[in-house]
Symmetry: C2
Subunit: 412 residues, 2 copies
């Protein structure tokens, strides 16, 4: 019998009415003949309440093992309640907490990695007639027998890991959006839901701020070739609902560009006239890393007279920290520059698509579209399937709209 | 090193401030050189919230295994939070959920019995320097690996079971009253807190409605000779705080009567002119038991002409159920009686004391005290250490006061 993994996030299980709606959806898949593993989050708000208590109880340097023991309880409640509602609907179901499966993880509390999910336990139950296993997401058990949690996006990761372990036909991630779009519909009404997107594209979009799926779960899905479907738990189910995130070869005809992503609140920093010698990059980015600055794009100008300009982008709210780190490094004699210029008025816009691998001219088309609108490009970086530019923030919406048009994303 | 078990109920851990106060008390015992096992309940209100969700989700015929999985989460939260606060106070502490200890129970979900608590796990940790083990009360794990809960009074029972398993010097039950009284102080201001009370006496008092300790935990303490102390978590600790519930031989000088208990809302039912033949009692009390009527006192009059009157007491709110059961049994020809008289205006008053075993005349003194006040006795029953009477409800307070005086309970 085919196995299906379904994952429901906090807003989808926020109260009993919504849990009943979830049970109905699960029931439809059972009626279709699937054996279903359902992964649930805590009811929305519950995890924050628990985290609040922990930080109130212990301040910032709490014991992560106790944090995990407390915070994991939210998912346990949802799992039990959903199992009860499924039983009410006449479906053979039971709940499992992480340690009962067991979901075996590392000991890195609050950010544990899943190491193994033995399948014999569920296999035996399914063979006995169980139709649905409801699993508390986001949690596992360490080799020491303590409860662990997986950190941000943990329930998505749990779902993908179960799909991989059980060879599930598909892993459906129910959320509050109905799929992955060519760009944010709030920026242009021409944005179109994608039926399919490749893992690599999804990864680039996720890391660019399209918060539909956690990067980590997409990486895991890609590694184990788990077909992921993102769909809304608030709309009617259809066979073509949502967006399927899948391997490149499962996408027959793909556009050169799948989507246009953006990140609004970026800053650009330039160290003017840095000595161009081996080790200078390490001297600059070492202190920034220690100051927990997330450097994104890096551009180094051509050197003249043994000196160069070094430009990098970073989130706006990390500029002060970065400046401090650079001034201190200068004072300590680690680096030397004439001037430090920060521009906090930029945004990043990117086009992403696996088609770029086989199509040339994508960059030229992008730059022309921006130029036609009179938008000046501050910094450019490229990867195999992505081209990103930094531009003045006031042009961001315009740039997204222009690129969406230029690559014909409105029509499939 | 001596071991101490401390148990804190829901109101004692209702919020973080109270949990901090609990941590302070635990710290005092650690400073005194104890290794401490703390049993905690869920924050007050939390268990009701969880139970409400379960019954909303599943109606009356829910799967008790899922109920237990959901409801047990409340205690887990408190245990983790208390461990964190203790660590903040510099005390080596960690939390344990029932399955981690493990607290091994029967599979009778929602009313499981503790079968075993292996001690090696904690023993090893204490040897490594752990000072406090915080245990989520009320829960355990079944032979099938499912989470169980122990039912009403489960956390008291957990505490006593740990004290027995670890040979604890004492088991301190912190609650919202400061001990066991000679009678309810709301009835007479002369009521006096007892420093010590025997297990047997406590059992009689508990089953009579003095709701300080659950009967079940007292029974367990008696069986394993666990010294139980009941004390308030809202008052200053002193060496003589609370009431010690202990074996008879640990009480040097005991009064003949330890206390006066009462149960206000009783009813009395009489079946007039029942055929007096073998099996008639079974014919009456079988149907009552099936109707879930809690029959307490039973009195049978002397038979005349082969017929007798049968009188029994029961809680007021079960009278309708009892009447229905009796009329149905009569209609079915199972029993035969001329009349059924229900009196819903009675209360039960009892004197309890192990001293009765060696002292005669207690009953006479009791009846005289009531007679002096003009109180008519409706029904009498006696046990080895208790005499109970049913009287008209309007005299209840007066009877309690008179008996409290008659047995000199005001002065130690």
């Amino acid at each position: 019998m085919s196995r299906l993994v379904m994952k429901f996030g906090g807003t989808s299980v926020a109260n009993l009415d919504r849990i009943r709606r979830v049970a109905k959806r699960v029931g439809v898949e059972v009626a279709r003949g699937h054996e279903v593993i359902v992964i649930v989050s805590a009811m929305s708000g519950k995890t924050n309440e628990l985290v609040g208590w922990v930080t109130d109880a212990a301040g910032p340097f709490y014991d992560a093992r106790e944090y995990d023991a407390v915070v994991s309880s939210g998912e346990n409640v949802t799992a039990g309640l959903l199992a009860l509602v499924l039983q009410e609907n006449g479906i053979d179901a039971r709940s499992w907490q992480g340690w009962q499966v067991p979901v075996m993880t590392t000991s890195a509390h609050s950010s544990a990695r899943i190491e193994d999910i033995p399948t014999d336990n569920f296999d035996a139950r399914f063979a006995e007639g169980m139709k649905v296993a409801v699993v508390a997401g986001f949690q596992g058990i360490s080799p020491e027998g303590r409860i662990t949690t997986l950190g941000r996006g943990g329930s998505d990761t749990t779902a993908v890991a179960f799909a991989a372990a059980f060879g599930a036909e598909r892993c459906d991630i129910y959320t509050d959006v109905d799929g992955v779009y060519t760009t944010d519909p709030r920026i242009t009404s021409k944005a179109r839901k994608l039926d399919r997107i490749a893992f690599e594209e999804m990864l680039e979009l996720a890391s660019l701020g399209a918060k539909v799926l956690q990067t980590r779960s997409v990486e895991l899905a890609m590694r184990y070739k788990v077909r992921l479907r993102v769909l809304s738990s608030f709309e009617e189910m259809g066979d073509n609902a949502g967006t399927l995130v899948c391997a490149e070869e499962d996408i027959m005809e793909s556009n050169v560009v799948a989507g246009v992503a953006f990140s609004r609140d970026e800053a650009k920093m330039t160290l003017v006239s840095v000595a161009d010698r081996p080790g200078v990059s390490a001297a600059i980015f070492g202190p920034l890393s220690e100051a927990a600055v997330n450097v994104d794009m890096i551009v180094q100008n051509i050197a003249e007279d043994g000196r160069t300009d070094m430009t990098f982008s970073l989130p706006v709210d990390q500029v002060a920290r970065a400046q401090k780190a650079m001034e201190e490094a200068k004072a300590a004699g680690v680096i030397n520059f004439h001037d430090l210029i920060a521009d906090t008025g930029v945004s990043k816009v990117s086009v992403v698509g696996i088609g770029m691998r086989s199509h040339t001219g994508v960059a030229a088309r992008m730059f022309k579209a921006l130029s036609d609108e009179g938008i000046n490009i501050r910094v450019i970086t490229t990867s195999e399937i992505k081209i990103s530019v930094l531009i003045d923030r006031k042009y961001m919406e315009l740039a997204v709209q222009a690129l969406h048009d230029a690559f014909g994303l409105e029509s499939a």
